[in-house]
Subunit: 243 residues, 2 copies
């Protein structure tokens, strides 16, 4: 009968090895005898472990005379929160990979390991760029913006962008004048999406522009083309604003 506390025998032995819980007696044949107080200590250990404290920390808690429990627990909460944040951003990136993968479901192209790794690299690079061009405050603001907009709105925008870009590309190639009403309409929609994304923050708009200016490729797109398009769009808007 070893584990009334849900702990394995091996765990008890381990705790004994490191001197965290030494059973208060042995039978003459060598079997460990855990007294009531040992069991209590074990329950305490189990509780503290289930809250994510390390065995070293637990030893301090149980043996050290004083250590300000308030601060300890607050620090621990902060630790966990940070881990959660990390994993959340990790999850975001993974979802980005999944989204890109399914978006580019060219059944013709050899769809496998290579494409996967490529997509992963793209997303990784992209998030590096993002860390580079946005300040931490801006990132925080974008996070809030994301929450405000909600998932569905985000997904909708992610689907609208490629369509819009394609439409603009067509007009550009056709040689349509930027002041043409069709183009101006596209440009307005473009700016609306940008506004929605940036939440109207000028700093963020600026960072985005910088990123497009200084990187050669982003999200698998050639930025030279995009710069051209952005120029076209701004001329269309200029035409709108000058009446």
């Amino acid at each position: 009968m070893g584990e009334r506390t849900g702990l394995s025998v091996r765990a008890l032995h381990h705790y004994e090895e490191i001197g965290l819980l030494v059973p208060s007696g042995r039978t003459e044949s060598g079997h460990r005898l855990y007294a009531e107080e040992d069991v209590m200590r074990l329950q305490q250990i189990a509780s503290l472990r289930s809250l994510g404290f390390s065995l070293a920390e637990i030893r301090e808690f149980l043996d050290a005379p004083s250590f300000s429990p308030g601060r300890v627990i607050e620090l621990h909460i902060v630790r966990i929160r940070e881990r959660i944040e990390l994993e959340r951003s990790l999850c975001d990136r993974l979802e980005a990979v999944a989204a890109l993968m399914s978006a580019r479901e060219d059944p013709a192209v050899e769809n496998s390991a290579e494409k996967f790794v490529e997509t992963v690299m793209e997303v990784t690079k992209m998030s590096e760029r993002i860390e580079k061009y946005y300040t931490p405050e801006q990132l925080e603001q974008l996070e809030r913006r994301k929450l405000e907009l909600g998932e569905e709105r985000i997904r909708a925008a992610q689907e609208e962008w490629p369509v819009l870009i394609e439409q603009v590309r067509v007009e550009m190639e056709t040689g349509t004048d930027p002041s043409d009403e069709r183009v101006r309409k596209l440009a307005r929609r473009w700016m609306e999406l940008v506004e929605e994304f940036t939440g109207g923050d000028a700093g963020i708009r600026c960072s985005v522009t910088n990123m497009w200016q200084q990187e050669e490729t982003l999200m698998g797109m050639d930025t030279a083309n995009m710069r051209e398009m952005m120029d076209y769009i701004s001329r269309a808007n200029a035409a709108s604003n000058h009446r």
Copy 2:
């Protein structure tokens, strides 16, 4: 010049040890020579690692001919989500500990390690009870309910309960008849809080009652007293409902 990829020299050696990335050459003196393709592979490794894949998984991705990237990434996302959920519940319990600790800030009592461990044990027991009396679906529903109510409302309720309980206790000890208007008012408030908490779900109300019936202590309170109070309250409500 070892780490253009942000990886330590030791990491490179490790990858070589496990055969994940063997540099394609050596100088005659024995220094490792990483060719362009090695560096590319390294970047791939780094990307995949930053997404939380294990070195073994990465080896599969890079060397195996096929493995259905779609499923792999979905499974990985699920893994991470589960971890996040675990850590979130952990965080909840830690916050419960912190709350209980500061709520019972008896500056007289020796405020230190012991109280901390005691509080931890209480919260641990409490969450064990919760797992025991609620079905997983009910837990999920309570989670949703929590989100619906919002943090402030929760906190407000947590502060109101002790006050309400104390008021009822006083009336009971004074011997006020349950049909007295003062008591009926308290009882109405009591039921309102219960309704708010349970979201009107009968199953959850039932589980709560069971828990109070079958456990001897909960959240540091003697359940016998509470059962008495709940009885008193229901008599007050009966008086209200029978006109």
